[in-house]
């Protein structure tokens, strides 16, 4: 309780200082109008053709060490089977609501019912869908919704197989933020390649704490 009292007066004091510093209290109307007046002359729509955008996404994902395979809807299961085999993944976590027709036989899929982190650490990987992908930056966007699940589940396992639908691919970051606006409050993670660091001599090296291996199946 003591803390609350202290920060109450701190709150009043900090706000008072801010108002004194800029000579007045900001009002909502003026703030909204001022925000609307910000010049946004940067690209906000796609400029490339669909084919070029998809190629760009593949190229940018690969540039950041993700492995990408394109597949038709009916082939997702077979492609997934091959990729899981190559990664020697036998036991995979999946979020609730992941399309069951994507899941190949011969692999154990454990549905994430709030699996404790220590247990997530013992599976071979995680397989999810995605909300969207951004071609220009090679980014896959995950949200806490059916088919993508909790953030911990795509973080603790060492391998992530992610299925992205072509209709969810946008070219630029502004297009992506536009699509995400309606669900802005959901837990959202932008993933651009496997976990990496540049902390040692500024060389991008794969793999610190997140999944060290990222495979993408681009469907459609």
């Amino acid at each position: 309780m003591a803390t609350e009292l202290v920060t109450d007066s701190a709150r009043a004091e900090v706000l008072r200082r801010i108002r004194a510093a800029k000579g007045g209290t900001a009002n909502a109307e003026a703030a909204r109008a001022g925000w609307g007046a910000v010049e946004r002359r940067y690209r906000r729509e796609s400029t490339r053709s669909r084919d070029v955008i998809l190629e760009l996404l593949v190229d940018r994902l690969q540039d950041y060490d993700a492995r990408v395979v394109r597949a038709l809807h009916i082939d997702v299961r077979a492609v997934a089977a091959r990729m899981l085999e190559e990664r020697k993944a036998k036991r995979m976590v999946v979020p609730r609501g992941l399309a069951s027709e994507w899941l190949p036989d011969g692999v154990e899929f454990v549905v994430d019912e709030e699996i404790p982190a220590a247990e997530l650490d013992r599976v071979d990987g995680v397989m999810t869908g995605a909300t969207l992908a951004i071609a220009e930056t090679g980014t896959v966007v995950l949200q806490n919704v059916a088919g993508q699940g909790r953030r911990a589940a795509t973080l603790v396992p060492d391998y992530h197989l992610c299925v992205v639908r072509v209709e969810d691919v946008v070219e630029t970051v502004p297009e992506a933020m536009g699509r995400l606006q309606a669900t802005a409050e959901l837990a959202t993670t932008f993933v651009s390649g496997p976990s990496a660091t540049a902390d040692i001599e500024m060389t991008r090296i794969k793999g610190v704490h997140g999944p060290r291996f990222l495979d993408i199946i681009l469907v459609g």
Binding site: T3, A31, W35, T137, T188, T203, V208
Partner: protein
Amino acid sequence: MSGTALDPKTAPTFPMAAKTAMGDTQLRKNVRHATDVIQAKRARVVGEMPDWQELREAGKQVRQHTMENLDFYLEEFEANCTRAGGVVHWARDAEEARRIIVELVKASGSEEVIKIKSMTTEEIQLNSALEAAGIHPFETDLAELIIQLGQDRPSHIVVPALHKNRHEIRAIFQREMNLPELGDQPHDLADAARMFLREKFLRVKTGVSGANFLIAETGGVCIVESEGNGRMCLTLPETLIMVAGIDKVIPRYQDLEVLLQLLPRSATGERMNPYTSIWTGVDAADGPRVFHVVLMDNARTEILADEEARQTLNCIRCAACQNACPVYRQTGGHAYGSVYAGPIGAILTPQLQEMHYAQSLPYASSLCGACYEVCPVKINIPEVLIHLRNKVVKQNTAGVAGFFDVEAGAMKAMAMIFRSERRFRAAQRMGRVAESPLVGKDGWIGWLPGLLGGWTQVRDLQEMPKETFRDWWERRGKNGN
């Protein structure tokens, strides 16, 4: 010098510290190498963007607009974050922020915390406060881990251990993690960090972090990182305690479309950093169950009150100005005596000290303008530097004789140049032209001073500096200054 915190109140003046740093050839080599690599990467991915200048302009306007309405956006953030289950605290200064955080950690029932890299926690020297209260902080960012285990200090705001090369890092890990066989390939070192920290991520129940952006519209927070240690600290602990300067707020979710393009390309030269997390409040199944945000002033309102320096607050901490700065590239970060080094440190640090300490930092620049050119939110650092030099001179004309007095006149001339766009460009061009012969001869040493060399450079536009820093320094030393 290792082990002691970077505290502007006790740090030696920049010229003194710079001289020591200049004697460390290994450090200079490491800094040079790292900043070369990062600058080349940045140039490549910035060059890919046909609308980079438009993005910079939008970034500048968004930040400027935020500062003009700061009280409104902070209150909006507070209301929305609270609605989503977060608890918002306010701190007038570092002392108050430390006290709140220590109490919150204690209340969480944990004697250990896992930490995401945060320059704000470095600014308030949080780790020593936690330790004094019997709480053990584990740094989880690779560079911060290197710093913590090596009892070193951060020298760069994005890559705090940039002054260490892989051999030095290996030696630290071998010793501190008890891994005598450890190799020196970067992936060996990354794997060692993964092993070392995994157990802590799974065990420790309280996380402490900074923030990149607080979103007023939603009450959400955005954290930008590379390694996944941030995601670990945000999702696995039960309690998350975040400390953020009041300058970290942004108006709307949509503003991220600008800032998330500017920041990664400027900071690490990547089109996008590996992981960006955006979330709102608490979530028992997917993130912290208890979430505290400490909104800290710590002299930021002083900066806000100074109209000419206010743009300092627009900074998004990308460190592009550090990488581009010929002075920083010579001295490394520690010479600045502050966790904020390089050009941004030269303007931010003395202001955070309300101009009482770190008065030599506004002089730690040759005013070549490279920082302004790369800044993703177009902060005119040279202009602010000159403004602060003026302030320092004014403060010191009350009798303290030093190099400040000598420059009072020159300062006004400089201010004029930087206010006139045309003259500023001419000066900048000269800077560029002068670059090549100097690099060949003495590797920028002629540029280090910013004390006298800097003036000569810009005032006598046709001439090269007549005196190198070394000559100047030696002569100065003899005069007993």
